[in-house]
Symmetry: C2
């Protein structure tokens, strides 16, 4: 099992057709690598520089059996992750690209630990990764961000940093989760 200490990773799946689908992005304090009876189902890859804790399974299991309070904390964490993932699933049922992108940015905002400036979101992943995660093409993502920029809802300070310009309008887009 791994715990992200700092940095951002992507976790993806290689589909039979050869295409890749981003399953999730991993931020500090996130856990991954809890394999299905010894076999990993996803591949994890660093997007930024990353530091990890690695915890072998057997000692972890022993630790959990000894310290049931610790295990309970862990259980809560996994349960929380499950709820998050269910929410993300609902995001993906939204049809309009702009809405999905807005929600994605909102999700990023919640997880942005180092806020350089207020209302500034760091977007470490590529457009292509965003697209793969959101079930859109990278062109659509690009167009959606362009549209949001044009109507002065967001503004890119650089390609990997967004500022929320019109918070009210932004929230309205994000509303439906």
């Amino acid at each position: 099992m791994f715990i992200v200490a700092s940095g951002v990773m992507k976790s993806f799946r290689e589909l039979p057709s050869g295409k890749r689908r981003i399953a999730t992005f991993l931020f500090p304090e996130d856990i991954f690598g809890l394999a299905e009876n010894g076999r990993y189902v996803n591949t994890a890859q660093a997007i930024t520089d990353v530091t990890l804790y690695r915890i072998p399974f057997d000692p972890l299991e022993r630790l959990f059996l000894e310290d049931s309070h610790l295990q309970l904390q862990f259980l809560c964490k996994v349960t929380h992750a499950l709820r998050q993932t269910q929410r993300q699933k609902i995001v993906l049922t939204r049809r309009d690209a702009a809405g999905r992108v807005a929600m994605f940015l909102s999700m990023l905002e919640r997880r942005t630990v180092d806020a350089p400036v207020l209302s500034t979101i760091s977007v470490p992943m590529s457009r292509s990764d965003m697209a793969s995660y959101l079930g859109l093409t990278l062109e659509s993502v690009s167009r959606a961000t362009a549209a949001l920029t044009r109507c002065r809802t967001i503004a890119f300070v650089d390609r990997h940093t967004v500022r929320i310009v019109d918070r009210a309008r932004f929230n309205k887009l994000v509303a439906d989760v």
Copy 2:
């Protein structure tokens, strides 16, 4: 916390816009109702007749702290559910309606406990619920099932029972998970 003993339920969310989105369907042995600090985020509703186990939180917590082996089993269950949900997320990134429907049926097949006939899948939920779950309209679901029927991949014995006619073709549709 609840455990489904028999029957099928749906778990959904009321969105701010008033629309409902099915978060997940619950089958025997599934768990739900693990609330976010005392507040439920989803609503669960029976689709068929259902029997449930209800386990109040405090006794459950005490039980987990006493019996760490039991808790570990439970942890594995939740972890498994998390992986499932991530897979389902990937399904939703598929663009074509027929593909989504095929995958949904495949998911149902895995969970169909009482197989009346071989290669027969019971589809207890309404088309509308399927649509809400898959992020499609019920019209699209209807058209997709019609298309799959027309090309002799599946066949409806009645509205809530499907038979896989051409397994090879079906599997090819389902492949990309």
